[in-house]
């Protein structure tokens, strides 16, 4: 039954998103029950019977006002309730200042992750890259700059509840903070061609110590071949 629900959240805002979903589920669930049960009751109670005639009722203004106002109020509430969470996640101006920058480039049918190296700065000599593997430290903010080389892809990490399209010609910012160590998956969520289904990357959320060891193993070899940074390498055959 666990598989009939969200994969367990592993990011700072994941639980809030799930709570919003559950709130909407309660509201819509109540409406669902009222409508469907009401419908069934009417179908049984007012089924055709010989010698009986339907009542000639053309409407009721009070009822119309009630069922116009209530949905309007609920919708305004849901909009107001959702907006702050949305802005906090997606507004580029509100990305946490201490976030480590990552460069993510999508292309048919792979992900390339550019890491800032130990100095935490992109565009310096200690930068390194990794194909189809995202390694991050738990409880650390990350700022992702998303780009696409060919068509539109979508950066989707289900356990982080994060989805953001990568559009060629645009640089789009997104952020997350992992809250749980472990191995997860990143998927492309936008149809990008025949290999869309296998445009998958693995996400490793490490403890700081684990990450330091992994980073050292990435930087240690001085030969560039081992670090796999060239953007064109390993292009999957189409």
């Amino acid at each position: 039954m666990q598989h009939w629900w969200f994969p367990t959240s592993a990011s700072s805002y994941g639980a809030e998103l799930d709570n919003l979903f559950v709130l909407i589920l309660y509201i819509t669930g109540a409406v669902f029950v009222i409508v469907e049960v009401g419908l069934l009751v009417f179908l049984v109670k007012y089924r055709k019977r010989e010698g009986r005639k339907a009542e000639y009722i053309e409407g009721n203004t009070t009822a119309e006002i009630v069922w116009t106002t209530i949905p309007a109020v609920v919708c305004v509430f849901l909009g107001l309730f959702s907006q702050p969470l949305w802005s906090r996640i997606k507004d580029p101006a509100r990305i946490p200042a201490d976030a480590i920058p990552l460069e993510v480039t999508a292309k048919q049918f792979e992900w390339h992750f550019g890491y800032p190296g130990p100095d935490g700065q992109q565009g310096t000599a200690d930068d390194y890259g990794k194909r189809n593997e995202l390694h991050v430290v738990v409880n650390q903010n990350y700022r992702v700059r998303l780009q696409a080389e060919d068509v539109i892809h979508s950066f989707f990490i289900p356990v982080f509840r994060l989805k953001q399209d990568a559009v060629p010609g645009m640089q789009i910012m997104a952020w997350f903070r992992p809250t749980r160590t472990g191995q997860f998956e990143l998927a492309c969520a936008e149809l990008c061609g025949l290999g869309h289904y296998r445009m998958r990357a693995r996400v490793f959320v490490h403890t700081p110590e684990e990450f330091a060891a992994w980073q050292a193993s990435q930087i240690a070899p001085t030969t560039p071949a081992a670090s796999d940074t060239t953007a064109s390498s390993g292009r999957t055959a189409r």
Binding site: L17, K53, S82, P168, G169, G195, H196
Partner: protein, 583 residues
Amino acid sequence: MTTAGVAAEHLEHALHDDRPFIRKYVFSTDHKIIGIQFLFLSLFFLLVGGVLAMVIRWQLGFPGKAMPLPGAWPSTMAPDGVVLPEFYTALVTMHGTFMVFFAIMPLLVGVFANYLIPLKIGAPDMAFPRLNMWSFWLMIPAGALMVAGFFVEGGAASSGWTGYAPLSANPEYTGATYGQQLWCLSLIVFALSSLLGSVNYITTVVNLRAPGMTWFRLPLSIWALFITAILALLAVPILAGALIMLLFDVVLHTNFFLPAGGGQPLMWQHLFWFFGHPEVYILILPAMGIASDLIANGSRKPIFGYHSMVYAICGIAFLGWVVWGHHMFQSGMNPRLGTTFMVSTMFIAVPSAIKVFNWMGTMWRGNIHFTTPMLNGIAFVAMFTIGGLSGIFMAATPADMYIHDTYYIVAHIHYVLFGGSLFAIFGGIYFWFPKMFGKMMSERLGKIHFALTFVAYNLTFFPMHILGIGGHMRRIYDPSQYEFLRPLQPMNEFISLSAFALFISQLPFIWNFFHSLFWGKKADINPWHDNGLEWTAPSPPPHGNFETTPTVYHGPYEFSRPDMEQDYLPQNQPLPAPQPVAH
């Protein structure tokens, strides 16, 4: 008075109908024949779209396993019966395209607008019968071009029914060079057909209403079809414009949507959805109108809140223009715009709720006859409610971030377009078949078809919500590639088996349709005891429809009047002499 003159002229035609066969049944300008032509064509494409869905479900339920008749599949699509990834992307693209543009839209607009508008407003025909004929005959090349995609090198278009650029704009990205061009050309021709139809429907409703048929005496089906025609008139040219730009990018190497040459991929999405969201309402409003007629008839009661229902149709149509951005929350569009579109989208719940509660109000204290059309009308309300409510989740931008592009969206669209539109369409076919062909369809087979479809439909599409919550992406060829999706595979298999059952459940309908066409019981002039003007004309009505132009005395929902023995009162019969009624 002119209407009456035209009618009289047409009546002469009707009396000595010496048109040759080809003018009468093939290149006919009679709105009824054109409606019936659309019926056969769009049911055919519904079947095509259904078959494609079966192949999709085979691959998702049993990834990599050979399909039945492994040798019969072309090696470019499914060598030894195993679906290729490039064929799969073509399948999802063409399934959506056929269903939206060649099945649901022509079923609602081509069939019911054509057949019902003149009959229900008391007109002898459409305002522009020849344009109307063209509107149908353009659908033939449009459909042929679309089908041709499967037979050209590189296969059919593979960039989704939404044709997102740059995937669609540069043939290198999908390999479907000719398929994508044919897709564009086909839909451009389709747009022309739709335009000719819309002009006709609008003009006819505005100008050809019979004496006494005031705006607020129009049946809700006609209101819905009229508003839909306005939406289509304004929205479809935007699609055509975008398609021409896309075709230029593909063929002439322009750069409207290709960033390397300075183009904007997101512009395609804005254009497509500025058309596409009104299009979604084009696909549901006529169904709402048809369902309203069916429910009032089946409940033997006036529509509850007729005026609210009309305003709700107009409200949905208006809001339809300002919500397109909700398809683009995660697209890279400015997130502040996301907030705006979230609020406008939420407001669609208001007119939708008004409609659902008014349908319930119509059944309340009714005398509900469970005829096949009524059963389908009830299913429409029950299923549209689910589709409407699931839409609220994706309207909330943060919740959409997770469920966008997952099976949750697939579940939602099928609850609206199958659970909503298609049930109303089936109800409408059962209801108006006697008028169209002068024969009754079997109620027994109709109920079997309804029950099987209702159960198999819910078993197929409801679990898709759960797949979506599990994170299952849309349009993926092989879910077993992902560890987190593997536990969902048994559900995928269950959905596939249900989908096969849903397909087989349509056999009673096909049998019933054709058997009744030839051997059905002869239909009376008004078998459902309805009030619409179409039920005052013979079954089937002759060329020119009415012997004399009807005069309309009241609205279409005068059921179970307390001052009358009979529980219905056709619109061409005066109300009983008024007498003070004390409550």
